[in-house]
């Protein structure tokens, strides 16, 4: 082997070594914005080029974007190329390579009709020889890599093309991996936001007031997703009665939770001026029409409770009727009528009063309880709720929820589940 041959092989060995280094380094980088500059520097190194660029394929718009361009001369050149240039598939050399998915070696740029000279005009760079290869992953075109103007030589050679092709393969693997990591990151970020929202939502829930002077008031809600569309609230009024509300927005998840937050705020502010359940529902209905614009509705049940006497004034809007649990069993309260909130402009509500006996509990539930579905698709149903009165003792709220859990046998409930119990202690209170 003579000196020229020897030098050639040494050069080749060096460049293959660089390719191996490139593979190792790429395995460590995760973020696309760190990845691209690294890829460019390596492409230049590996081929002994003065400048390089990567264009990424925007499949949705069918264009190639100059994502990054780098050279050894002026920082100014890089900036310009990143912002200004887009090539349609088929346009210019990179566009040709993208369209045909075949590599190209241009020994003399100025005589090759495929060369797109606008980039040179914009940047002031003068391209003499260039190598351009597609970056492919399976059937997908990810982009195009180019290297320009070899150092100390007039043009690139076939062996440079081979090297750049191997490099493009490494780049494709790295790009796909970083894309996967990015979508996983987005997913994690979204989940974190959901959890934060769920935390905030828990703050809207009132603390359980316990014994409020003759009645024990208790409530719990279990959202089906991280955030729910069920609401309950306990509002003490000036005359020592309490307003108890349970509401359910049609739907689940973040949209329902946001609307529920709006309703909660309105209920609290309305309750300062209006304490009759029927009037409150009428006012809430007008608000709901405005906020939900006919696309959603909410069901609600309102109970105004006088803890000392056990008297309750009820009204409801399309909601599951309240139940009274007592030593004699469980009765569903009838005679309450009204459409859900947010459907009709001048909705009318038929309320009623009732008197609890000592030891009785008034239960307000959402239909997540009755609609809880077992593996065989059977619903828990209202009858099973009532049967809890025979099978358990007060407090009945937790007993009903326990029965639903047993029914679900460890499966997730399909909808938000809420239970509120107002237990009248009578003289013992």
């Amino acid at each position: 082997m003579d000196a020229v041959e020897c030098a050639k092989w040494r050069r080749r060995a060096e460049r293959l070594e660089k390719l191996v280094e490139a593979g190792q380094a790429l395995a460590l980088v995760e973020a696309t914005d760190e990845l691209l500059p690294l890829l460019m520097r390596m492409a230049q190194d590996v081929t002994g080029a003065t400048a390089s660029s990567i264009l990424l394929h925007d499949a949705a718009r069918g264009v190639l974007r100059f994502t990054l361009a780098m050279n050894e001369n002026t920082a100014g050149v890089q900036e310009v190329l990143r912002k200004n240039l887009e090539l349609r598939l088929g346009q210019g050399l990179a566009g040709w390579v993208a369209e045909h998915r075949e590599p190209v070696l241009v020994r003399d740029a100025h005589t090759d009709p495929r060369f797109f000279s606008s980039a040179d005009k914009v940047t002031g760079f003068s391209t003499t020889s260039l190598l351009c290869v597609p970056i492919l992953h399976e059937e997908e075109l990810l982009g195009v890599a180019q290297v320009l103007n070899p150092k100390g030589r007039d043009s690139f050679a076939d062996e440079d093309l081979d090297l750049l092709l191997s490099f493009a393969h490494l780049a494709s693997v790295a790009l796909v991996r970083s894309r996967l990591l990015e979508s996983r990151l987005t997913e994690l970020r979204m989940r974190a936001q959901f959890e934060a929202a769920a935390n905030i939502q828990r703050h809207f829930l009132p603390p359980n007031p316990g014994n409020v002077g003759g009645c024990v008031i208790w409530g719990v809600t279990r959202p089906a997703a991280a955030v729910g569309g069920d609401l309950y609230d306990f509002i003490p009024l000036d005359d020592s009665s309490w307003l108890v509300c349970v509401a359910d927005i049609a739907g689940k998840g973040l949209p329902a939770a946001l609307l529920m937050a709006a309703m909660w705020a309105r209920l609290r502010s309305l309750a300062a001026q209006r304490q009759e359940p029927v009037e409150l529902l009428q006012a809430l209905n007008r608000d709901a029409l405005e906020v939900m614009r006919g696309e959603l509705f909410a069901t609600a049940v309102l109970a105004r409770v006088w803890p000392r006497s056990g008297k309750v004034r009820l009204a409801l809007a399309g909601h599951l009727p309240p139940l009274v649990f007592g030593p004699a069993g469980c009765a569903v309260i009838s005679g309450l009528a009204g459409l859900p909130l947010g459907i009709e402009q001048d909705a009318e509500y038929q309320g009623r009063d009732l008197k609890l006996e000592p030891g009785d509990s008034l239960l307000l539930l959402t239909d997540g309880v009755t609609e809880a579905r077992r593996a065989d698709k059977a619903f828990f149903g209202m009858e099973r709720v009532q049967k809890v009165a025979e099978q358990a003792r007060a407090p009945w709220g937790p007993a009903v929820l326990g029965a639903v859990d047993a029914w679900l046998e460890g499966r997730e409930a399909g909808d938000d589940v809420t239970a509120v119990e107002i237990r009248f202690l009578g003289d013992e209170g």
Partner: protein
């Protein structure tokens, strides 16, 4: 998660048939189909629910929205042949009377 659902339409007679199960995961798509159908047809819209085995409150919200939009245009929404499971939600929320059921 519910089972699937199917939509069959007869533009000429302003009739739609909705079957399977509709819940919050599918109701946006169902809503979209209804909105398009309303644009493409004149007059009364009849919906056959004989094959609809389950619908949650978000599905009901879609039907209510369809009814409201048709009413604004002076058109009627007729619901036909409900399964007991679906009839239950109409009765519970008391919207059955809005549909003349």
């Amino acid at each position: 998660m519910s089972e699937g659902w199917t939509w069959e339409e007869d533009c000429e007679h302003g009739a739609v048939s909705l079957s399977g199960e509709v819940d919050f995961s599918s109701s946006p798509e169902v809503r979209q189909l209804f909105m398009e159908f309303i644009e493409q047809t004149p007059g009364q819209l009849t919906v056959d629910l004989a094959g609809l085995t389950y619908m949650d409150s978000s599905g009901l919200a879609v039907l209510l929205d369809v009814r409201r939009r048709l009413k604004e245009k002076g058109r009627a929404l007729i619901l036909r042949q409900m399964t007991p499971a679906v009839e239950k939600i109409f009765r519970l929320t008391q919207v059955d009377r809005l549909f003349g059921l």
